[in-house]
């Protein structure tokens, strides 16, 4: 299979701390307008991997990185970090709304990047909340504190907040792991809708979820991308645990 170059290309990426190798020789392609899922058990380096895309790993000076991450064919380190992070959004595992009103949460990003009239800002907030499937639930509560929302609503608010700066790629780091099944279902539906407009990168350890929403799935295990088609890889003892993951993937 020949891989078409994607919107994000990871080439031979290694990330390590003084004590521990986190990612080893990772090659990965993120395809445009698709849900690209990275699965793997906890601690396999999934979160670190996607944080190299928007250079959030730079907040941890102890991480040493070599290899390349290309965004539109250009090394992410050659972008201005602010514009890179605007174009590659990230939704965190735990909903992290700012302790402010629902409106201000969504308006936060746009206000950072542009001078906007109130009307334009209202429009962006409206559109983002609609895209995140939250508008109908909160349209009368825009001035209420975001912290009063339920966990699932908070997470969709965080998605709206990320969409408000009009990113090209939306990365989600286990976005449903702290949510109940109904809230989880809503976010999964949302992901599949979002891929029409955005490139979605999903990180999860939930195999069912990966199967439901993904256009492509990569398995990250112990910091390596495992090609789960190859039977011989599965026989290697260090992938004993990975096998368990792959069995579920295959069904």
């Amino acid at each position: 299979m020949i891989r078409m170059p994607g919107i994000i290309e990871v080439r031979d990426l290694n990330v390590a701390t003084d004590r521990q190798q986190i990612l080893s020789n990772v090659h990965l392609t993120i395809k445009e307008n698709a849900v690209n899922t990275i699965v793997g058990p906890s601690g396999s380096g999934k979160s670190t991997l996607i944080r190299t895309f928007n250079r959030l790993t730079e907040l941890y000076p102890k991480l040493r990185q070599n290899g390349q991450v290309l965004f539109h064919g250009k090394d992410v380190r050659d972008y201005r970090v602010i514009s890179l992070r605007r174009r590659i959004g990230l939704v965190f595992q735990k909903p992290n709304p700012f302790p402010a009103s629902i409106y201000d949460n969504v308006a936060f990003g746009p206000k950072l990047h542009m001078k906007l009239t109130r009307t334009k800002l209202d429009e962006i907030v409206h559109d983002s909340l609609v895209s995140a499937g939250l508008y109908d639930e909160v349209k009368h509560l825009l001035d209420k504190s975001a912290l009063e929302l339920s966990g699932g609503q908070q997470q969709r608010l965080c998605i709206a907040r990320a969409l408000a700066v009009q990113p090209e790629v939306l990365m989600m780091d286990e976005p449903t792991s702290s949510l109940d099944p109904i809230a989880k279902g809503k976010i999964e539906d949302l992901m599949m809708e979002l891929r029409n407009q955005y490139t979605v990168v999903l990180v999860t350890h939930d195999m069912g979820q990966a199967n439901r929403v993904s256009d492509s799935i990569d398995l990250l295990y112990n910091g390596r991308i495992v090609d789960y088609d190859k039977a011989e890889v599965m026989k290697m003892p260090e992938f004993e645990q990975a096998k368990h993951f792959v069995m579920k993937l295959a069904k």
Binding site: R85, R86, G89, K94, G109, L112, R161
Partner: protein
């Protein structure tokens, strides 16, 4: 056992009130409205007034000291507040991880320097610099007042600000440090800069602790005695006219006038000083309680008022 501190507090207050009663009867409400503090002629025959004995022509009013305390403390806060905010942001945003701890410890160590040493520094270094290098220039910016000494409101305010910056910084910096990582990363992930993280997360979410920390600094400045005594000019019966005026504070006056108060056979001078102390305690108590109520107890360890 929990009652022991309460009992000590009660005994202390009863003593203060008991000792202040003669002064209360002698001065009445004018204690708060008069700015004349005159020990009287302790060698003349004492007079009797409202059933208490007092030195001839003695008069006690706290206004000049109250104003001095208010102005020096206000001045100190005015300087300490922005400096502490700046230091806290610097520690939390722009200091590399391995230097954060040493840097905070260094700031906190300044809180442990005895105040007499600050006073000494004020007298030897700050006062001459103010008198010879700063004040001569003031007439060019429209300052009209008379300049006689480096001591005064300016020196006391500066010294006080240096003394309270560690406390205010420790409280603010600690509350900034405890802001959740997810919020900071949330701002970064939206393309925010360090400054925007500082503005929206570190400053935006810690307003309460900033106010509380400042109140604690205020409490410390109100009660601070030794350093202020050394650099304020210890003037009595005069209200300040400019930022360079000599001044005196409630706490400094108690320390300064105590010695001579014992010469007074009627005990009225001593009683008036106790009443002054009582007022000071009440003001400090209110400010400290307010600060504590806002910040919570945890942030205060090691910074009790002395």
């Amino acid at each position: 056992m929990a009652l022991v501190p309460m009992a000590i507090m009660l005994i202390l207050f009863s003593f203060l009130i008991y000792k202040a009663i003669p002064s209360m009867r002698y001065t009445g409400f004018s204690f708060f409205t008069s700015y004349l503090w005159y020990p009287g002629n302790v060698y003349a025959n004492p007079i009797s007034f409202h059933g208490v004995m007092a030195p001839y022509r003695s008069s006690f009013g706290l206004l000049s000291f109250f104003v001095g305390t208010l102005i020096t403390t206000g001045f100190a806060i005015l300087i300490a507040f922005p400096v502490s905010i700046f230091l806290s942001l610097t520690i939390n945003l722009y200091t590399p991880d391995r230097l954060k701890r040493p840097f905070s410890v260094l700031v906190e160590l300044f809180a442990g320097i005895p105040s007499v040493v600050y006073g000494l520094w004020g007298v030897i270094v700050l006062e001459p610099v103010l008198l010879h290098n700063i004040m001569p220039w003031m007439k060019y910016v429209g300052f009209q007042g008379q300049i006689i000494s480096g001591a005064g409101i300016m020196a006391a305010g500066l010294i006080l600000s240096i003394m309270i910056i560690p406390i205010v910084t420790a409280v603010i910096s600690e509350s900034m440090h405890s802001q959740p990582r997810e919020l900071k990363e949330g701002v970064y992930a939206l393309g925010g800069t360090k400054w925007e993280v500082g503005k929206h997360v570190l400053l935006g979410n810690t307003r309460k602790q900033i106010v509380g920390g400042t109140l604690l600094g205020t409490g410390r400045a109100l009660g601070e005695t030794m350093a202020v005594l050394m650099v304020s000019g210890s003037i009595v019966n005069v209200l300040p006219t400019s930022i360079f005026s000599l001044t005196n504070t409630m706490s400094a006056q108690i320390a300064a006038a105590l010695d001579s108060a014992f010469i007074d056979g009627t005990g009225m001078n001593l009683s008036a000083l106790v009443e002054l102390g009582l007022v000071l305690v009440l003001i400090s108590l209110i400010v400290n309680l307010a600060g504590r109520a806002i910040v919570g107890r945890g942030a205060l360890r090691g910074f009790e008022n002395d």
